[in-house]
């Protein structure tokens, strides 16, 4: 009898707890459905239609995809520039922030001040940053060309040069990657000092300690930073919108920018949706590849 009463009060309390939870999660529910999964499904559906955004959509099967793969003037350039940019930006930003974090993890004077300095570019509004760097890259009187001239080198065209535009934009991305530094620092501060000391006593030099102690201990953090940086940089669009308009030539027509061009400049919603589907699959493939390397790395660390 008493047991029964107790059980029912527990379940009543449990019900109440459940109700509170569902109430609290209403915002997330809308986020997951209306803002994320439903539009993702919708983009797949839309990709089978020819639609200018106003008249009735016309079903054309795989017509959009066929056109993209065979006739599109941006397709190859956009894939190439997106992957090229993302690759350079991820490698550059992760290496840069790891190196800076390693330095900041040492017992150097003014650590807090330096940490702030490396972090500030991340907090600056992106468009301001791009406009400012446009001036630094300026062909005649920009800062970088001044520096090159002082070193006796010939001036470069940076953003106006088909070869240099992507590396130049990547420099900006690296400069603004202060958030990665802070996350690396957090990871490094968690590496037990004992391990370092033990390795030191065993006669490991600084490089050996870094490779055999530090890297395995922060490998989840490295993975996290690479993953978030990859997803961010594959979606690159701001430099094209604010600086290059996809140029020079088509050298910075990133996939996101092409989706924007077709969807909002040329009002080809269905066609842009098909592009978005291809983009989605591309990001998915990269994410899966990344996750598969992580597994082997984790096992490697365990052995």
């Amino acid at each position: 009898m008493t047991k029964k009463v107790k059980e029912s009060t527990i379940s009543r309390a449990g019900k109440k707890e459940e109700r509170t939870a569902y109430l609290c999660l209403i915002p997330a529910f809308f986020g997951v459905t209306l803002i994320s999964y439903v539009p993702t499904l919708a983009v797949f559906v839309l990709s089978f239609f020819d639609w200018n955004g106003l008249t009735t959509p016309k079903f054309i099967g795989l017509g959009n995809f066929e056109r993209i793969f065979t006739k599109d003037i941006y397709f190859l350039d956009s894939i190439q520039s997106t992957i090229y940019y993302a690759f350079l930006a991820v490698v550059g930003a992760v290496l840069y922030s790891l190196i800076i974090a390693l330095f900041l993890n040492m017992e150097i004077k003014g650590r807090t001040l330096f940490r702030s300095i490396f972090f500030i570019p991340y907090l600056l509004p992106a468009i301001g940053v791009f406009k400012g760097w446009e001036w630094l890259y300026e062909g005649n009187f920009g800062l970088f060309n001044f520096m090159l001239r002082m070193m006796g080198l010939s001036p470069q065209r940076f953003l106006d040069s088909p070869e240099q535009v992507i590396p130049s934009l990547v420099m900006i991305a690296i400069w603004t990657s202060g958030n990665l530094i802070v996350i690396f620092l957090a990871g490094l501060q968690n590496v037990p000092r004992v391990y370092q000391e033990a390795a030191r006593i065993d006669g490991a030099n600084a490089w050996q300690r870094f490779v055999n102690v530090t890297v395995p201990s922060i490998s989840p953090i490295i993975f996290y930073n690479v993953l978030t940086a990859l997803i961010t940089h594959l979606q690159v669009i701001n430099p094209a919108l604010a600086l290059t308009n996809g140029g020079p030539g088509k050298k910075s027509t990133f996939m996101s920018y092409v989706i924007y061009l077709y969807g909002f400049r040329k009002n080809k919603m269905g066609y842009a949706a098909a592009y978005a589907v291809i983009f989605f699959l591309m990001v998915g493939v990269f994410t899966i590849i990344l996750f598969s390397t992580q597994k082997s790395q984790l096992f490697g660390a365990e052995e």
Binding site: A21, A28, S36, A126
Partner: protein
């Protein structure tokens, strides 16, 4: 004796290494600051002075008038008002909803928790570019909210993206449940416990969430461009993109406008930097 000597030698070596490291870091940080200084310095010079070689590191005369000239066409305070009428509600409600959702995941038991949690994690990997067109159709054609700020604000009322919910949850998990239980015995309701006990103790996480949302919205040029058409509704991001284009080669004026838009970012950083760095440092560890 010998051991001590080795130790002292090592300390000396370590000190030297740290000194060299400090030196390198100082030089690197100078390089990081140089672009900001160069933009500022150029915004105070005349076009003629900008084109001099060798360039001067500090302007010979400080032309603050560039700023008033920029303000004649660059309606700073309009853009300021517009930008913040998106940022304030989005950051505020984004943070509040993130707290509710993070709390449910960290503290409450309910059916379907694991499934829903995984569905939420999936959204992090979902590129925003993919959902852009259907969302645009929904907000403009479906709900008739084109050329308003709503499509830029309302999506943040969903916990501001799952990453922020996750962050709050991770932080709450580090707070001992004894705290909640003690308060519950005293008769406090769940919501009361959340807002009076838990929220104050995860302040750094809340500051991080707020600032991340702030940066995210500030940098979201694409959505601002596609949803906003009227010039009197322009935000900093749109206005700056158009402004420098229309100003052609008058760099000092364009850079004055640029520098003015950078300023609020620096201001916010100075306000919240301690909690911000602390918050990220703590969250990075709690995976």
């Amino acid at each position: 004796m010998e051991k001590q000597l080795v130790k002292r030698k090592k300390n000396k070596k370590e000190k030297l290494i740290n000194l060299v490291a400090t030196f390198i870091v100082a030089i690197l940080s100078a390089f990081v600051l140089l672009p900001i200084w160069w933009i500022f310095r150029s915004s105070l010079m005349s076009t003629g002075a900008l084109n001099e070689y060798p360039p001067s590191f500090i302007p010979h005369e400080w032309l603050w008038s560039n700023y008033s000239k920029a303000l004649e066409t660059f309606k700073y305070w309009t853009y300021f008002k517009n930008t913040f009428s998106i940022i304030i509600p989005a950051v505020l409600f984004g943070t509040i909803t993130a707290i509710f959702c993070g709390y449910a995941f960290a503290r409450l038991r309910f059916r379907g928790k694991k499934l829903f949690f995984n569905l939420c994690i999936g959204t992090i990997l979902l590129p925003g570019m993919v959902t852009l067109i259907p969302l645009y159709v929904m907000w403009t054609r479906g709900l008739g909210l084109g050329d308003t700020y709503w499509p830029l604000i309302l999506p943040y009322f969903t916990g501001g993206g799952f990453f922020n919910i996750f962050l709050i949850r991770q932080f709450l998990l580090t707070i001992p449940t004894e705290l909640d239980e003690a308060a519950a015995i005293d008769g406090a309701s769940r919501m009361r416990i959340l807002w009076t006990i838990l929220v104050p103790s995860i302040k750094p996480a809340i500051v991080v969430v707020g600032m991340m949302l702030f940066i995210q919205i500030w940098n979201d040029l694409l959505q601002q461009i596609i949803y906003i058409n009227s010039m009197d509704k322009f935000t900093f991001a749109i206005a700056l993109t158009n402004f420098t284009g229309s100003f052609g080669t008058n760099w000092p004026i364009a850079l004055a406008a640029t520098f003015m838009t950078i300023l609020p970012g620096i201001g916010i950083y100075i306000l919240g930097q301690k909690s911000f760095v602390e918050g990220i440092v703590l969250t990075g560890m709690k995976n």
